[in-house]
Amino acid sequence: MTREEPPGRRDVAVVAFAQTDVARTTDELSEVEMLMPVLHSVLERTGLKTADIDFTCSGSSDYLAGRAFSFTLALDGVGAWPPISESHVEMDGAWALYEAWTKLLTGDADTALVYSYGKSSPGSLRDVLTRQLDPYYVAPLWPDSVALAALQAQALIDAGDTDEPALAAIGARSRRTATLNSHAQLRGSVPQGDYAVRPLRTGDCPPVGDGAAAVVLAAGERARELCSRPAWIRGVDHRVEAHSLGVRDLTDSPSTRLAAQRAGAFDRPVDTAELHAPFSSQEVVLRKALRLDDSVRVNLSGGALAANPVMAAGLIRIGEAAARIHRGDSDRALAHATSGPCLQQNLVAVLEGEPR
């Protein structure tokens, strides 16, 4: 079984965060060109150079790039010379952060650079994501991500957990708060629109966009040197559920609840939550699993309904939560990332600033 947090576990913090503006298309930029300014920016914030970083970990997807080994080119952009200690997950950058966090816990590294990126614009994202499904029985039917989310939304409505006006309000609120986020893709008043797949309207669905993000992690005193108010990672955990939708209760997210419990989210209330809920209906599921009431400020960035660069959107949630702590706008924040159809896999991180 998973251990309780052992005494003497090392303190690790997010000390810097940077992200691109998220745009519908970035035809003029390669992935590496999109990523480079973010890498420079996040390092500038700490004064570190590539050679000062003890461990580097990235997240991305070959299927978005349309090319095998696409991450190898991004590594050239990092400037891995002299050679660096480096790894890569074919997952959202939030999981790259998890790998880096465990590396720092071993004591083998004191600082880590984590980045992720995704360009959805070159293809049809709805079609591409069908390739995540069971390749023998489900993928050949090409059920797309919006259709699967609509199944989940309908299950919620049938269970009496929400209704279409409540979903519309989530979309509207997200885009209203996103007016304060210059990186967001959809901001301000966005029409709820026609049905994409019933009961979801376009306003319930995330924009398709390209973007990149990066954070720097540091342990103990190093974190205090690099950041005036580090966002200490009190816990991170992630859990996966069965792949087949037929064996899951789509109105609930037991994996999110378990991850939150393991990350210590329920030990004390959080004041802020950044949820990776690409569909308005998924925010309903996550709020319930995470026991978030109206006292918690949810997705002040606008969340995934305002900008959802696939493979970076989860890392951005952690970055946004950390940045709020850096600025003194939050003392204890929860960040969540998801992967797979209908919230199959979920990661929860709990971040804290020191008392002021």
């Binding site: 070959d62 050679p83 480096e86 004591g107 390749p135 996966v240």
Partner: protein, 388 residues
């Protein structure tokens, strides 16, 4: 602060073949995982987390297959991480899993790597046309052959060395029931008469395309104490990366490989690898990489690696055996190949390697590399726990 010592207590792999048409991807990974658990005498509920690796998703045509494979790997309700670091991924995956134990985040972790190349076509997977980027010309062999040429020129190695490696590895594979190629009628003359594919690399000096999976159960000190069979202890592990193409790159002996080995040796207290390490499972997809990596890993001075091969030092009965299992030259489910190296190193120090078991295998190095020789992962395992 100190790290938790990490022990390998279970190892399982599939019989590697060109096409496993009798199982799905889920069936394939399940088979290896089940064997690793059986070896450790553990059940699915004893596993705290799963770390899975494979090479590009395009090889099977499934995007982020950890999602689909979560059920087959008993991961439902648990964490599952998916690592991808090109050809070194099998090694990197094991190291990420080991770190979960070393960091005391989890007590027992199942790690697995696979490739089911028959589901698709690896050459196609590596050859998608993207403008402004260099394609891998004529597959990996076309990319690596010029570097082999450079090695030959630099070291003055006679052009017979490559065939010696292939002949040795294919004979070693005959002793390994899981190896893909079992060429019972292999002779040195046959290797040397095989067609030239990418001069100087001949057909018989090239790895096959395999379906297969490899799994290991990693655990902490308490888990090792309960293990039914001797554990292999991780004495050191490291990854290093450098850029693919740049003016300062030494494609024959990349700095990242040297640095990675140096880090592992430092962790394990190895001062003279040639003396302190008993055997090596190294990633040799094209025969000439044995002498090249012998130098890169510090077992021979620069330009001298081929002399060890030629003198029979790397034979099964030599004093630094290399690729006892038959190596990548005999079995290559790409994403799993690195983990097989790591697992074979562990099998040797546990004394569980069967017919290809060495008499003396107290400290064995597992090695993997990937991309254009820019990603490296290695671990050194031993029959005793680390000192600290």
């Amino acid at each position: 602060m100190s790290k938790e010592p990490v022990a390998v207590v279970g190892i399982g792999q599939t019989k590697h073949v060109a096409a496993r048409r009798d199982v799905s991807m889920a069936g394939l990974v399940r088979e290896a995982a089940r064997r690793a658990l059986d070896d450790a005498e553990l059940s699915w509920t004893d596993v705290d987390a799963v770390v899975i690796g494979k090479a590009p998703d395009f090889f099977e045509g499934v995007m982020m297959p950890e999602l689909y494979l979560a059920d087959a790997l008993g991961a439902v309700g648990k964490p599952i991480l998916r690592v991808h670091t090109a050809g070194s991924v099998g090694g990197s995956t094991a190291l990420v899993a080991a770190n979960l134990v070393a960091a005391r985040v989890h007590g027992t972790v199942l790690t697995l790597a696979f490739e089911k190349q028959s589901e698709s076509n690896a050459m196609w997977g590596l050859s998608l046309p993207i403008p402004f980027q260099q394609p891998l010309l004529a597959g990996a062999g076309g990319f690596f052959a010029p570097h082999v040429r450079a090695y030959m020129r630099r070291s003055g190695a006679p052009d017979t060395v490559g065939s010696l490696v292939a002949y040795k590895d294919r004979r070693n594979a005959l002793k390994n029931p899981y190896a893909h190629l079992h060429e019972h009628d292999i002779t040195l003359a046959k290797v040397q008469a095989s067609p030239m594919l990418w001069d100087p690399v001949r057909y018989s000096e090239t790895c096959p395309s395999s379906d297969g999976a490899c799994a290991m159960v990693l655990t902490d000190r308490a888990g090792a104490a309960r293990a039914p069979r001797p554990p292999a202890w991780v004495l050191g592990g490291a990854m290093r990366s450098e850029p693919t193409l740049f003016a300062g790159k030494d494609a024959v002996s990349p700095q990242a490989g040297k640095d990675c080995a140096a880090d592992v040796y430092r962790q394990a207290g190895i001062t003279d690898p040639r003396r302190d390490i008993d055997a090596v499972e190294m990633y040799v997809p094209f025969s000439w990489y044995e002498p090249m990596w012998l130098e890169n890993l510090g077992f021979a001075a620069e330009g001298e690696g081929w002399k060890l091969t030629e003198a029979g030092v790397t034979e099964l009965d030599g004093d630094l055996p290399v690729n006892m299992s038959g190596g990548v030259l005999s079995t290559n489910p790409i994403g799993a190949s690195g983990m097989i190296r790591f697992a074979e190193a562990a099998l040797q120090v546990r004394g569980q390697a069967g017919e290809h078991q060495l008499e003396r295998a107290r400290r064995v190095l597992g090695h993997a590399y990937g991309g254009g020789s820019q990603f490296f992962s290695m671990w050194l395992v031993g029959d005793r726990p680390p000192m600290s």
